[in-house]
Every structure is written in C-alpha cells, then in structure tokens.
Amino acid sequence: MSTEVQTSAEYIHHHLQNLTYGHLPDGTWGVAHTSEEAKAMGFWALNLDTFFMSLLLGAAFLFLFRMVAKSIVAGTPGGLQNFCEWAIEFVDTSVRGSFSAKNNMIAPLALTIFFWVFSMNLMDLIPIDYVPHLMGALGVPFFKVVPSTDPNATFGMAIGVFLLVLYYSIKMKGLGGFMGELTLQPFGKWGMPINLLLEGVNLIAKPISLALRLFGNMYAGEMIFILIALMGGAWAGFSVGNATLYGSQVLLSLGWAIFHILIVTLQAFIFMTLTVVYLDMAHQEHH
C-alpha cells in the first residue's frame, strides 16, 4: 500500500483481505501484496494470518488447560483451576444434555471446539485497526486477526466435524446401516433416488450450516466494526458534523463491542452444541 489517502472502499477491502501465501504471477512463491494477486493464487494458497492466529489460539488453550491439569489439586481449587473446572463442568453439562450415546471423546471435543472458536471469535473485540496497523509497520501487507471471519477456518472445522459424523455413522451402524439410512427413508426402498437426494442434502447441510453460520456471524460483525470505523475515518478538519461522527464512532463501536461479547460466546456455544448434536445423531439408529 502506498502512503496516499485510502478511499472507504480500499479501507474495507484492506480489512477483509487475508494475508495469503501462494504462487505469485511472476512465478515465485510469496505473500500476495494486493487482493488481485491473492485471488490469482487460486486454491493452492495459504492464509497465513488465519493459520497463525488459529494455531496460536489453539495452542494457548491447550497450554492453559495443560498447565492447570498438571498442577491440579483435589481440594478447594485456586483461581485458574477454578475457572477451568467451571468451564469443563459447563461443557460437560451441556454435552450430557444433548448427547445420549456413550462416547468418551465427545466432551473433550466439545470443550476444545468451544474454547477454540471462542478465542478466535474473541479476537474480533480487538479494535480493528490495531493489528493491521501494527503489521503494516512491520511490513506485512494484510492481517485479519479473526480466523473465524475466514471461511477457510470455519469450513476446516466443519469438515473435521463432518468426517467425525461420517466415521461414527459408519462405526455405529455399519456401512450398510448408514447406506440404508441414506437410501431407505423416508419413502421406503422404492423411493431410493428421492431418499438419497433428501438424506444427502440433510447430511451435506450439516457441515455447510455449521461453517457458514459461524463465518456469517463473525464476518457480519467484523463488517459492522469496519463500517463504524469509517465514520471517524471521514474526518476532514474540525466541524460539528465531524465531531458528531467521531463521537458516534466511539459510542457505536463501544455498543457493538459490548453486544459482540454475546455473539462471540453464543456462536462458540452454538458451534459446540451443533457438533455434539450432529455426533449424537450419528450415534442414533433412527432420526
């Protein structure tokens, strides 16, 4: 980016562009410096910012809980252990509420998903210009700090869940049972193509809805932060109008951030609960 003044469109564009590593048009591998370059890289490119942030946050979660787990005491828990126990109890309760089969992997999975998604969403509460400015000063052209506003991240997780759903469907019902479930209902064996269509859509809808819901909510939230930020960005000398805009920016973004606490938590919770519910359905004979 040059030092010339950005237009609003450029500003938005800049904020929505991932730091993409891939095959550059000149034939070398590297980081894209414009959106066009990033787009031209096609499928075989990596969003370094998403990659880095999600790994960092995942590792932070693991580190935090591992630390607590190592120094756990049986008596009255201290601060951090108390928090972790509280969180685990919360996840465990909701898993018990919606998962009826027996599988020891579900609760840890739900805990991991909840905290990972939560911490990724939480990055949305960092003022949106902080990280891109900081990275800009370090010479990194783009940086989206919220991995869950990148569909790659949400689809990645959703596909992971989808594979688990397939695995447990086949494990619990056998390949034949699973195929039967896909093809023999709701219309019996003579309606097989229609059944397959309906159940196939039903099956595919799970990961897609999982990924798109999280992505959509976080992307929209991010977008509103950007739009609010533009109000102050329109500063052009001191005037009553500008001052009002400036003040509204502060108040609106504050209000949106406070509201976003709810969305951040809720989306993480929804992602976790739906994962558990889908896996529960995979464990059931009938649905």
């Binding site: 950005q6 108390n82 509280w86 003022p127 210009d129 920016q249």
Partner: protein, 156 residues
C-alpha cells in the same frame, strides 16, 4: 495505509470497552467463580466435619458397647455370687434345721427314755411294795410309807 484519528477513536473505545468489561462482565464472572470456590470449600469442610463426627460417634459407640459389656459381665457375676450365696444360705438353713430336728428327736428320745425309766421305777416300786406287802402279810399303807417308798424309788 494511513494512520489517522480513527486509531485514536478506537483507542478511546477500547479503553471504555475494557472498563465496561471490568465492571460488568468480569465482576459477575469472578463472583460466580468465587461462589463456586466457596461452595467447594464449604462442602469439603462439611465433609471433614462429618468425617470427624462419624469418627467420634464410632468411638463413642465402641465405648458404650464396652461399658455395656462390662456392666453385663458385672451383672452376671453378681447373679452368680448371689446364687451361690443363696445356695450357701439354703445349705446353712438346712443344716440348722436338720440339727434342730435331730436335737428335737434326741430330746424326745431322752424324754421317752426318762419317762420309761420313771414308769419302770414306779412299777418296780409298786412291785416291790406288793412283794414286800406279800412278804410282810399286810397292806402297807402307801401313805404312811410314802417317804420310804420314795427313798426306795430314788435308790433304784
């Protein structure tokens, strides 16, 4: 990339946001966590107390049991003692009674013997008198010779 007052606005907003979180988000969470901690601590303390109570109660019950056993032993011993006492007493009484009966019988026998002797003596003196009367050929006035007769009887 242009740095402008937006950054300042965001900083103000962020400061306000952090303040808001500290006041309205952090406080209830910490409150809930503290309450949880307190509940656990109370629960553990209660459990500890209950354990102590149980220990005390079991100690106390063992003591009561021991006391009861002791008492029962005492009662049994007392009973045995009393029984043997009663037996001894009965034995003593029986002996006394036996002795009394024997003594009575002896006395009766003595009396019988004495009476028989007395009778014998009277009869002997009567016979003697009769004999003497026959020898002397006359009636001996029993009254007149009473002292003589008595003397005779005493001699026999």
């Amino acid at each position: 990339m242009n740095i402008n007052a937006t950054l300042l606005a965001q900083t103000i907003m962020f400061a306000l946001f952090v303040w808001f979180c500290m006041k309205f988000v952090w406080t209830p969470i910490i409150g809930a966590l503290e309450a949880r901690k307190k509940q656990i601590a109370d629960g553990l303390a209660d459990a500890e107390r209950a354990k102590q109570d149980l220990e005390l109660a079991s100690k106390r019950s063992a003591e009561i049991l021991r006391e009861a056993k002791e008492k029962a032993g005492e009662i049994v011993a007392n009973g045995e003692k009393r029984a043997s006492e009663i037996v001894e007493e009965a034995k003593g009484q029986a002996k006394v009674e036996g002795d009394r009966i024997i003594a009575g019988a002896k006395a009766e026998i003595d009396q019988e013997v004495f009476r028989a002797k007395e009778q014998l003596r009277t009869q002997v003196s009567a016979i003697a008198l009769a004999g003497a009367g026959k020898i002397l050929g006359r009636e001996i006035d029993a009254k007149a010779h009473n002292d003589l007769l008595d003397k005779l009887v005493a001699e026999i």
